[in-house]
């Protein structure tokens, strides 16, 4: 009896269970969408914070009085009032903190009468007090003269003066940080010497010389400060109120409404640049993140200096030298699992062991005279060591895998040619597994760069005036506290007094951190894939 064709309908591309297949497909789709969405969100929000938008001017009818507001739209929201009615509102950043108090303002869209984009509005960045939005009127010079904003070379003059002010500030910083700092340090040392071994004519003479030097420096400092405050830029806010800004405090003047698309791109690049290379201002909510980048990079590099040799040695031992048996297997599993132990546990260990225990011993031996703890407090060295411990399992596991992937034949060939065990490892096995080891190190660095929780316990701070590496002897200051991009995000987002003003900075920093971490991971993945291909073709 011939079978009915329908009996075969359930074979091959059968429909049985097909809804579940689609369910799993939806799972993957959601997973991919979440990843892409999250990255996309960070990228757009991050880039948005650099993008110079147009300044708009709204005429707002607030209970009968017409108010003029100039600024950017930060966000839109719908609010339910107490009586249940819904309101569409926009949040406006209008700057000019000293005039309005609050830099942000909510405006009901129903109350907006008119919107304009006048070309002559300028956006002024300055050292303190936040952004200023207004019409530039003139420059008032210290000798009483005025440069009118209408004069033909006004912009050139303004740029010129801002540049001069910037040079003066550099000079001032040089005097304050470098020369006065060095002076004070020497005075302190001499005083200590005097206290310990009695006074001598040389010391007294040197102290006097230092005092005169300090007086000179102080005079110079006052002079530059006065110069910086001498000239003023007169700006009129949109509602007609005057503002007088010392030229010495200005950083950048930009008129967003008069430039085109490429002008905007240029301004955006300038902002990204200044974000990357300048110091933070205004409790970290403005300026750049240079010290945080520097701290993150130095910490990660120091960490990899520790983690690479130790991780590789441990892996070579486990794979090549240790007798393979249940014990080594157990050790291997445990090392593997250490990678899954919460990072905060390593932070706890770092605090107790490195800072209180090792740091305490170092301080007792080498800095018995110091009143403040030197190494017995959080610092970049301890942070790096803590992260090295945290990431050493990653390197061990990756190196072990790479060593195991080296074909047995290659190894045996080397030994057959008369190489000693070490020679075989050094000349054949290690070079072959180098990409794998590199992958491990990059993954460890990526993990280290992104960790924050343990760092909070071992030396990261919201603001460190001195970098861990600088021009004062001994140049490398392993005991110094440092700034970190990840902690910067935490601090700005959650500890900042003005969290609204900090938002663009947090998104920008987030974008930067994610870029660093993703680039590191991508390179690790690419290296790994290359490695796989290499051995897939050359296996015996």
């Amino acid at each position: 009896m011939p079978a009915k064709p329908s009996n075969f309908a359930s074979t091959g591309r059968s429909r049985r269970g097909e809804p579940f297949v689609w369910l799993t497909a939806a799972g993957l789709a959601i997973g991919v969408l979440l990843t892409v969405g999250l990255l996309g969100l960070v990228v757009t929000k991050g880039l948005e914070s650099f993008w110079p938008g147009r300044i708009e001017v709204w005429k707002v009818d607030r209970e009968g009085t017409l108010e003029t507001v100039a600024g950017y739209v930060v966000q839109e929201r719908s609010r339910r009032a107490m009586d249940g009615s819904a309101h569409e509102e926009i949040q406006i950043f209008r700057g000019n903190g000293e005039l309005y108090g609050e830099k942000f303002l909510y405006v009901d869209q129903a109350q907006i009468q008119e919107t304009q984009q006048p070309e002559d509005l300028a956006l002024i960045e300055r050292l303190e007090g936040g952004l200023v939005i207004g019409r530039i009127q003139s420059i008032q010079l210290h000798d009483g003269a005025t440069v009118e904003g209408t004069s033909s070379d006004f912009r050139k003059q303004l740029t010129q003066r801002i540049r001069e002010a910037s040079d003066r500030r550099d000079q001032l910083e040089d005097i304050e940080k470098d020369r006065i700092g060095r002076n004070a340090k020497e005075v302190k040392e001499l005083r200590l010497k005097e206290k310990l071994s009695g006074t001598s004519p040389e010391i007294t003479a040197r102290l006097e010389a230092l005092q005169t030097e300090f007086a000179q420096l102080d005079e110079q400092r006052t002079e530059i400060r006065q110069e910086l405050e001498a000239d003023h830029l007169v700006v009129e806010s949109i509602d007609g109120r005057p503002l007088s800004l010392p030229v010495g405090e200005l950083l950048h003047v930009f008129r967003p409404n008069e430039v085109g698309f490429f002008g905007r791109i240029g301004e955006m690049l300038r902002r990204i640049g200044s974000f990357l290379i300048s110091d933070p201002r205004e409790a970290n909510t403005e300026g750049g993140v240079y010290p945080a980048i520097f701290g993150t990079v130095v910490m990660t590099l120091v960490m990899s200096l520790f983690v690479t040799p130790f991780g590789v040695i441990a892996a070579i031992y486990l794979r090549e030298y240790a007798k393979q048996g249940p014990l080594v297997r157990a050790v291997r599993i445990s090392v593997n699992n250490l990678a899954g132990v919460p990072s905060i546990v390593f932070g706890v260990f770092g605090l107790a062991f490195f800072i209180y225990f090792v740091g305490g011993v170092v301080d007792d031996w080498f800095f018995p005279t110091s009143e403040e703890p030197v190494f017995k407090s959080g610092g970049i060295l301890w942070a790096s060591l803590t992260l090295a411990l945290l990431t050493v399992p990653v390197v061990i596991v990756a190196t072990e895998e790479a060593l195991a992937a080296v074909p047995r034949g290659v190894r045996e060939a080397a030994l057959a040619c008369g190489a000693s065990k070490w020679q075989a490892i050094q000349r054949v096995v290690l070079p072959a597994s180098l990409p794998g080891i590199l992958t491990g190190v990059i993954l460890a660095m990526a993990r280290g760069a992104g960790e924050v929780a343990p760092l909070m316990l071992v030396g990261v701070v919201k603001s460190a005036p001195d970098l861990p590496i600088d021009g004062t002897a001994p140049f490398i200051h392993a005991e110094r506290q440092f700034m970190h991009l990840g902690f910067h995000i935490y601090d700005l987002g959650f500890q900042s007094p003005d969290s609204e003003a900090a938002k663009p900075m947090v998104f920008a920093t987030t974008l930067l951190l994610i870029t660093i971490v993703v680039v590191m991971n991508l390179s690790a993945i690419i290296i790994r894939n290359r490695l796989r291909k290499k051995y897939a073709t050359s296996s015996f």
Binding site: S10, T11, R13, R15, R16, G17, E18, F20, V21, W22, T24, A25, A26, G27, L28, A29, I30, G31, V32, L33, L34, T35, L38, V42, G84, F310, I313, A314, Y317, Y321, V331, I333, N336, N337, L338, G340, V341, P342, I344, G347, V348, F349, A352, L389, S420, W422, Q423, R447, G450, E451, A453, M456, G486, I489, Y490, G493, S499, T510, V517, I525
Partner: protein, 753 residues
């Protein structure tokens, strides 16, 4: 043609150069030592953390010192200075004997006011070092022992004791000699509880500001309490704030009197020992709890708290301690913490109120009649019948610690029942740290649970699709993309959760509900529709690309459901305003009204969602590996037998890979349990012990991150945080180990197949 003779082989040709050998040996040693050292160092973490924790679980260390004997017995009172160097004895006469423990010298100070009087009762207040005495003629008074500390230039300390006397007061009520008294010194308000042969009185003392000189202590009133008693007085004690007193009667009843507005009234009567009267009643540090001891040596602690439904603070039994031995009980409270020294008949023990633990127990060489603890709780002293004084050094840095304090329910002072509570720092000096780890562990598990609730379905479904259906070339892109998601720093996720996500989803809960429901349903619906299509249509479409079809479907359905959320809210989640009866469609208001649970902006939903991001890639990667490694032979055989592609997955791939899936789940669990920054940033960090999805939590890891920077090294708080770290460490380590072992087993099993 000449065949050249081959040169004679070098006899050393098989020898290895010394340099190579040396290098080889050196490197072998170096790698052995280095490798072992690294491994030991890594595991040293565990031991170091344990080392920091161990002191928490050790009891008190007590060391007895030499006995110093003084002539004459009948010691009534023993007191000591803050440093435990100059104890003094009072025998009921007119002199106080001081002993210098450093030099062993004795000195005697006279109390002028006690000349030619007959002292019939005395009591001691160790806080002010005040000896209160009652006389045969019914007068009461007191003197203070004051230690003046002087530091000489080279830093040595000399302690000079002096005595300050206070005026006599006559008890106007009752008759006969004073049998018992207690002086409660609350500064401006003071209460003297006095029992005489007949009668019980409370004397209210107060300081009056004089025009010239020091404020003068005067008697402001005498309240006769004889009426309140039904039997003779056994012991009395006045509270340290000078506003209350306890009296135990021969009938076993304890009466609690309270002063307010010049009146002293009976507030409460209770019977602690079923008829046996407490012979000692002593306030503990803080003045909220009283330790009661009866003649048989039973000991209980009663504390003041508001019982449920009452607004008055009354005494209730909070702790029962083991017996202290038989004999006349001695008692000394610590002035620093809730520890106390007690004992009877030569038996001594150091106990702690909060943990209810006996910290140390031992025997004295003689039967003590009085005991005291110095101000720093570093020494205690006992004195015997014959005037022999012995000093003990006491080392108990963590009296409030212990298994019960960390993992059990503890009845804290002022609470109406035993609770699990974490509150490590407080405002006042006598604040009692509450160190139960249970709320933190529950918080960790709660966050993890909601994270897995969100991430597990997505990660596993994605892993199944990726392993079973996804074409190879797509897998090469999709898998690394998911891995990159794993590398996103958690601080970024936490920041997005707290700043961006929490405000967005705060008022969109119905939308989220709809999205969660509609996405899987719509996906399956698409599947049903698709499988109804004729084979000709289906054949045109290459398998494995379904997920790309689902991307727009997910976006569309998700958007529709999101938009439909407010409609659902209007239909179902209606909050009725209790006063006006007005109806508002708002989930945030509806939830507390309907369930009685709170609704916070930064809640477990937000944490679960964002932590899900951290966990999805971990689970996905491991589960995908396990599913992909199911041998092709098995799946091919199954398909050849006529199974549909879903049947292959369900009956072959998933069962074979199930240990791998389980290990993925556990590793995801481990990752979520230890996650720190997301929780710190996306929750309110309040320790709770409930599972409400719309409230926050405080996890072990977040707790460490928040509190450890402020904890003093070596303190109980500091070590308890280490204990939290160890719990985390063990939890994740064990989970990961089990997962790893399962994975390896699976790998071997699949190899055999």
């Amino acid at each position: 043609m000449s065949s050249a003779k081959p040169p004679a082989p070098d006899p050393k040709r098989f020898e290895v150069s010394k340099r190579t050998l040396m290098l080889d040996r050196a490197m072998t040693q170096l790698i052995r030592i280095g490798g072992l050292a690294v491994i030991i160092a890594v595991f040293g973490i565990f031991f170091f953390i344990v080392r920091e924790i161990l002191p928490l679980f050790s009891g008190a260390q007590v060391e007895a010192e030499e006995v110093v004997s003084t002539p004459g017995g009948d010691v009534q009172i023993l007191g000591v200075d803050e440093w435990g160097e100059h104890p003094f004895l009072y025998r009921g006469g007119d002199e106080v004997v001081f002993i210098d423990m450093v030099s062993g010298e004795r000195s005697v100070l006279d109390v002028p006011s006690l000349k030619d009087v007959e002292v019939t009762a005395s009591s001691f207040d160790p806080v002010h070092r005040r000896v209160a005495v009652g006389l045969a003629d019914g007068r009461v008074g007191s003197f203070l022992v004051v230690y003046q500390t002087e530091f000489s230039e080279d830093g040595t300390r000399t302690i000079v004791p002096t005595i300050e006397t206070e005026p006599w007061f006559t008890v106007s009520t009752g008759e006969g000699k004073v049998t018992a008294l207690s002086y409660g010194d609350g500064g401006d308000k003071r209460l003297l509880m006095v029992a005489r042969d007949q009668g019980l009185a409370a004397l209210r003392l107060g300081k009056k500001r004089a025009l010239i000189g020091k404020p003068k202590l005067t008697l402001q009133g005498t309240v006769d309490l004889t009426e309140s008693m039904t039997s003779g007085v056994v012991s009395v004690t006045a509270s340290q704030n000078g506003q209350a007193g306890l009296v135990s009667g021969a009938d076993g009843q304890v009466r609690y009197f309270q002063e307010s507005g010049g009146e002293v009234t009976l507030v409460q009567t209770f019977e602690p020992f079923h008829g046996a009267p407490p012979v000692r009643m002593d306030y503990l540090f803080g003045g909220v709890s009283v330790a009661l001891t009866d003649a048989a040596g039973d000991q209980k602690v009663f504390s003041l708290f508001r019982p449920e439904g009452s607004n008055q603070r009354l005494f209730g039994e909070t702790k029962e301690f083991p017996g202290i031995g038989t004999g006349a009980p001695v008692f000394a409270p610590s002035l620093r913490n809730k520890s106390f020294l007690t004992g009877a008949g030569g038996q001594l023990s150091v106990r702690h109120l909060t943990s209810g633990a006996v910290r140390w127990e031992g025997f004295a060489e003689f039967e003590p009649v009085a005991a005291t603890i110095d101000g720093k709780t570093e020494h205690f002293f006992i004195v015997g019948h014959e005037g022999q004084v012995q000093r003990f050094s006491l080392k108990d840095p963590h009296p409030e610690a212990g298994w019960r304090a960390f993992f059990g329910k503890v009845w804290y002072e002022g609470g109406s029942e035993p609770v699990f509570q974490w509150q490590s720092t407080g405002g006042s000096d006598d604040f009692e740290p509450k160190l139960s780890l249970i709320p933190l562990i529950v918080g960790s598990l709660k966050g993890t649970f909601y994270a897995l609730l969100f991430s597990l379905p997505i990660a596993l479904l994605a892993a199944v699709f990726s392993a079973a259906f996804l074409p190879h070339d797509m897998k090469r892109v999709v898998k690394p993309a998911m891995e990159i998601m794993a590398s996103l720093p958690s601080v970024v996720l936490g920041f997005l959760a707290g700043i961006w996500l929490a405000p967005i989803i705060e008022d969109k809960v119905p939308s989220i509900l709809l999205v969660c429901l509609s996405l899987p349903l719509s996906a399956m619906l698409v599947g049903v529709i698709w499988s109804r299509q004729p084979i000709q249509v289906r054949g045109r479409f290459e398998g494995g690309r379904e997920w790309m079809v689902m991307v727009p479907v997910v976006l569309l359905i998700g958007w529709l459901a999101w938009m439909a959320g407010p409609l659902l809210e209007k239909a179902v989640f209606i909050y009725k305003e209790p006063e006006s009866g007005r109806e508002i469609a708002d989930f945030r208001l509806w939830w507390p009204q309907a369930t009685g649970l709170s609704f916070d902006q930064r809640n477990s939903l937000v944490v679960g969602f964002m932590m899900g991001f951290a966990v999805i890639p971990v689970i996905f990667t491991i589960a995908e590996d396990a599913l992909s490694n199911v041998p092709k032979t098995l799946t091919a055989a199954s398909a050849a037998l006529g199974a549909s592609r879903w049947q292959v997955v369900r009956t072959v791939i998933i069962p074979v890979a199930s240990p791998g899936i389980f290990s993925a789940l556990m590793i995801g669990f481990g990752r979520a349990v230890g996650e720190t920054m997301i929780v710190v940033m996306a929750t309110g960090n309040t320790p709770v012990t409930e599972w409400n999805i719309f409230s926050g939590m405080r996890t072990l890891s977040a707790n460490i991150a928040v509190e450890l920077p402020e904890a003093a090294p070596g303190s109980t708080h500091y070590r308890t945080l280490f204990l939290g770290a160890l719990v985390l460490f063990m939890l994740t380590f064990i989970l990961n180990s089990v997962a790893e072992v399962m994975r390896q087993r699976l790998r071997e099993k699949n190899k055999l197949v």
